[in-house]
Amino acid sequence: MQKKIVAIIVAIIIIVATVAALQLAPQAPSPEARNIKIGLVAPLSTSIGQDMARAAQMAVDEINNAGGVYVKEWNTKVNITIINADTIDDSPANAKPPVVRAVETDQVDMLIGGYASAGTLANEVVAIEAKVPFIITGASNQLVTRRGPQGNYGGLPEDDSRRITDAEGMSYMFHYCTTTYHYSKTVVDFFAEIMKPMVAPNRDFRLAIFWRNDPFGQGVQQATKYWIEQEDLPIEIVADRNYDPATLNYQTDLTVVKQAKPDAVFVVDNPDKTPLIIKQGWNDVGLKSVYIGVENNQDPVFYSLLGQTGDGQLLESKLDPFMIPSYLPAVGEYSQKYNELYGKTPGMMGADTYDAFYIAKDAIERAGTVDKGKVRDAIEQTKMNVMLILTETGKIEFSTGTNYHEIDPITFIEQLYWDTTANELKSQIVWPQTAGGANLKQADFKLPTGYQAGSP
């Protein structure tokens, strides 16, 4: 009997030891393990597209050099490979085919990027239909995430071809960037709170909107009107003028704007055009006003083209890579590293893209798989600390559930000034004082030298 008990105990010990040994022994990676393929959707032959590509490569090199992305399902860490989806000029016709190739031929696990709203509205349809997670880092028209049932079709009429009825497909879209609603609100709030008391204390503030006629410009124009009405702001839109995005000749349109006698001009265009508009307005037409551009202009091209004429003008932004020392240490470190690697100052679109690759890594590691549905769920549950883009909660979070997926970034107003020592245009934050727990304001807003207020 005693021998039997001993034998049973020995047998149990052997079994337990064997199981333990098996569990402790390193398991081989799954034979299915492979690099994660992320499609970078960007107009690579433009300066902004190249900024996005450089930032993407920087993030991927950092991630891969640190060991890669752990995929539980494969029981190993794997590297990320960037698959370029070059959208040429980001026009709808050119922006779609490269995304079709990335999704169907290259079979990417995820997409990151998208610059122009028009191009992104065209090519995201491919990702929606194929149900590929797409972290959109550039296109600011809110329709990119709100044109489905979750976003109540972005307010589009029933017969509008831009409506997407596939709610599940739309749930794969994530907007990691400011929308036109975000920055239009910042702009009108700044005018009402700071500039109106200075130039129009006893009357409505007179605002002109000068916008390129495309989905980006339309989005900003509509959002600006929306917020003025929604917040019942003492702002009157005295000129609402749009133009062909291909033109470079704005004087005649600006002459009409000048006739409306605005207190400020809200210019909605890209970094290669906005400086021309400001220069032609100020120098050619003699419209000595405050001009404000939006954050897509946060690019070295904008500063170099605008030059000294930019002294005193404004820029709405959510990131400033030019400031030394930076308002946010992470931004300063990013700018320095980028500059060391590429010998250039980074732009804002690249910074969004850089963060997005870390969001992708985090989501895949939490999902434990590259299964697109599970990765989509994981992105929805993202709760990372902020990186380069400040948010209200200090966390990177996308709205979840049946809602559309957007982040809640902090935006601010910068005033440009001509640094006579460095002989270059620089910027400093003038509003708000604080946001998201960070102290942002660096200087008081001052009217530009030669400014002429509008009048009724």
């Binding site: 032959s45 433009t46 300066s47 597209g49 190249q50 000029d89 006629n213 003028r241 749009n242 133009y243 062909d244 291909a246 033109t247 470079l248 000749n249 704005y250 004087q251 005649t252 349109d253 002459t255 009409v256 006739q259 409306a260 970094p271 290669d272 055009k273 400086p275 021309l276 220069k279 120098n283 050619d284 037409v285 003699g286 070295p300 091209v301 170099s304 083209l305 030059g307 000294q308 004429t309």
Partner: protein, 292 residues
Amino acid sequence: MDITAPAIMLTLIWGIAIGCIYMLLATGLNIIFGVMKLVNFAHGQLLVVGAYLTWTFSVSAGLNAYVAILVSMVVVALLGIAVERLTFRRVLGGDKLNEIFVSLGLIYIFENATMLIWGTSSLQITSPFSGMSLNLSSISITYDRIIAVFVVIAALAAFGLLIKKTKIGLAMRATSQINNTAMLMGINVEKIYMITFAIGAALAAVAGGLYGIIFSFNYQVGAMPTIIAFAIIIMGGLGSIKGAIVGGLLYGITEQLATYFLNGLWGSAVAFALLIVVLIIRPRGIFGEKGE
């Protein structure tokens, strides 16, 4: 919107100023067509190269932007000679389709070459008068725009003298009429073709330099000015220098007036509608001759 006399006057000034640059580009295109019977779709790319070279000479060598235009004019003329000898000469006189495809191919070659050399970022040439304006009551205009108009007038006057008063000009006119007869009269037609292409390229370089001072540019901006230049020479009459001048002014003024009274979206549309009207009324253009 209040329609005021100063605003209309300003609009006319903008129209003339922009029309002048297009006029210069159209004149170059027209002389090449008139003498060589060659339709060069890559003409706008010569404007872009002219702008880049002017920028390079003014930034790297520290030249005054307007002096840099003169240097760039010479370089682009030499480039024009190379292009003519290496490409168009091989296909000239053959199938028109070959000439067209050579010029279309040149667009891509120039675009990629300029992108590789100067990058993708937009640039603007800084002149000594940048940011300075002439203020007359309620009218304000930058010195650079005024200078641009005078540069165009000077360039066209010099070109006119060359055509009317020199032996080369006489040979160019003879070749433009009937090249075989010109050859029989002892004119070296191939040499005239080469000189013509160089002059056309040089005019494009001047237009490019002025364009780069007034606007910003990158490697892709050549297409739109080329289309407009074609519209101008068709409206003015193919091969007619007078037509290019009048066509350029008409196009610029119409575009700006349409922008003023309607808005910027209508500028080009109305200008091209005018082109259609002119062609309906006078199919060979305002100054075009029969058979052109």
